[in-house]
């Protein structure tokens, strides 16, 4: 198979119900040889690896698939490339650089090379700053229909927002983790939480 053809298939891979196994094998081979994800739009392989690791820490694989299984990194790359306004894209990419520089200053290595506990510590430090940023804007004017203000210029907020969207809008996130159905068939306005068919939250 031509590599170009393979790249094309990979780019639309999420739309394929099942990848034929020879294709999968070919993918693995090319992955190994290139050591990069060919469908990336804006992330460098290193940025992609960083985002992949951060997203998996946020939403790990448990008894259901996690961020990596659901290719949340590719969704984030797509949104940062094709949806974000220029300023937000710059903020996001700068935020990724900052993740490495703070890991460097604490542990003398990049985020992707840090141990799981070191990575967790980095996320906690990002979280502390997010909490402070949230406090700082708490008194700002409310948004549309009285929605609470959020620190929109905080990288970690933006990362979490897009990562959560990527995960919970994936088929596994929706069907396995949220246990939702496209066609519930009935409505109950006040059911015990243990109910099997929840509403779509967001």
């Amino acid at each position: 198979m031509e590599r170009r053809e393979l790249l094309r298939l990979l780019a639309i891979g999420s739309a394929l119900p099942v990848l034929p196994s020879p294709l999968l094998a070919a993918c693995r081979k090319i992955h190994a040889s290139l050591a990069e994800t060919p469908a990336l739009k804006v992330f460098s392989p290193h940025q992609n690896a960083t985002v992949t690791a951060m997203a998996e820490l946020l939403i790990p694989r448990t008894d259901t698939p996690g961020a990596k299984d659901t290719k949340v990194n590719l969704f984030i790359d797509h949104i940062v490339a094709d949806w974000y306004p220029d300023e937000l894209r710059a903020l996001f990419l700068e935020g990724l650089t900052n993740v490495d520089s703070r890991t460097q200053s604490l542990f003398q290595r990049d985020f992707v090379d840090a141990s799981p506990s070191q990575q967790a510590e980095i996320l906690r430090s990002l979280g502390d700053e997010l909490a402070q940023a949230a406090d700082a804007v708490a008194g700002n004017p409310r948004g549309y229909r009285g929605s609470p203000p959020e620190p929109e210029d905080n990288f970690y907020l933006q990362f979490r927002r897009v990562a959560l969207t990527g995960y919970f809008s994936s088929e596994a996130g929706f069907s396995q983790q949220l246990r939702e159905e496209i066609v519930p068939g009935s409505f109950n306005g006040c059911a015990p939480v243990e109910s099997a068919t929840p509403s779509k939250g967001s």
């Binding site: 946020l58 939403i59 229909r145 929605s147 979490r160 809008s169 068939g185 306005g189 006040c190």
Partner: protein, 561 residues
Amino acid sequence: MAIPKYDAIVIGSGITGGWAAKELTEKGLRTLVLEAGRPIVPDKDYVEHVPAWDMPFRGMRDRKKLQKEQPIQSLCYACEEVNSGFFVKDTEHPYTSDPDKPFRLIRGRQVGGRSILWGRQSYRWSDLDFSANLRDGIAVDWPIRYADLAPWYDYVEQFAGISGEALGLSQLPDGKFLPPMPLTCAEKVVKEGVAKSFGPDRVLTIGRVAVLTQDHNGRAACHYCGPCHRGCVTLSYFSSVNATLPAAEKTGRLTMRPYSTVHSLIFNSQTRRITGVRVIDTQSRAALEFNAPLVFLCASTLESARILLNSATPEFPGGLANSSGELGHNLMDHIKGGGARGTIPGLEKMRTTGERPNIAYMPRFRNVKDKHRDFIRGYGLQAYSFQDGWGRGAAEVGFGTDFKRRMSEPGPWNFIFEGYGECLPSHQNFVEIDKNCLDAWGIPSLKIHCAFGENEFALRKDMSLAAAEMLSASGAQSIQSFRDTDPPGFSIHEMGTARMGRDPKTSVLNVWNQSHDIKNLFITDGACMVSSGCSNPSLTYMALTARACDYAVNQIKRGEL
């Protein structure tokens, strides 16, 4: 002269055009429906079950494309990633307004028009509404009262299928309801809290909605998937495509012509009648003409006004059928943007299952029995209750297994009250033709001059105060009142550019939605409205359309039309 192929032409296939098509064909008239947009085939075009993972932006919409092609339409909540094609491209459908008076015009051009997209709230108006102008000495009096319309409300409700709860309120007459949808736990809390503090004059009830709660007239009951504005393959909500047009089709007397933008009407000054309709085929761009002895203009409040203004003749230099000078004037839209939100405690162990395509509703309580010192008329409150979902996790700081589990469970219960207030008719709020602004087919567009006035702003202020007060009485927490600056047009309840009235000197249409000036011209969309009421107007448009069709056909039978 050739014998006309059609007995009637209906312009537009939205909520009123669909009704006109059904009524006229069922009464024996060979009817041509001219629709500016594309055909809609439910099995092919409805997209309500497309999962997020099959959308390139997972429901976040193609922001850059929308910003370029649909910057106005995409402000509407219903303009989503998979259904933005049900809204016009702003680039093809420009309009202008005064810099200090923005107007937000949301449009759908396809078979079914905006009936595919509407919010489906369906309320009868009462004599509190129909006598309001007379009582206040504003504009002109409605030429009808509730009793004139009541049988037609019965008629359209029984066909459309409206679910709701009968309340026995004078300001919001009960209808022929299908079983109501249930309230949520949060709505029950607020309903009880408000009843306890404010007595029986303030009732929170389930929305009266044109969504079937049981099989009805060959259409299936709702399956609670949620996004009605993307279509409905089971035809469970009322729209022209789902209900009236198939009924018209069944008669064998319907000719539907999509891709047919009406440019103007042709007036014969000898017979003083409309003799034809000028159409531009939007695909071939050919200029065509269609003829029939009866014309129902159902193109929407602003499009109908535009067509008549673009049809000016030496006899009617200010627009066809405009001897009164009121054509294009008295544009209204409900004022919204006032309300309050809060969280409802104590319901942590409860959740909703399924997606209810409906809100809760508090009928007007101001100026019903009492008299408010700051404003006349009133507002109804729409209520939304929902639990926070995984989206709340963005602003939290947790991560990992436990965070993932928590975000998969519903969060706090939110409750939002939002008012829809009556807008007074004013001659100063009007549209005219902007000859310098052409649409994609070269037809002059509208310049819209419209702004809310003191009374509307007083209503908006009271919405936010009263809503916060009622949430407080219901034990809500973190109460936040809001007053947003939604411009006119954004309630998408625009109405009033060709009002009804008894006097041809001050109104465009008579008591039967018939032009005072041109007997074979009827306008039954929102243009005909004399005041705006405060409850959603579509059901009233439907009733007026069915009533006008009945009158027109009776007149034809008597040889008087």
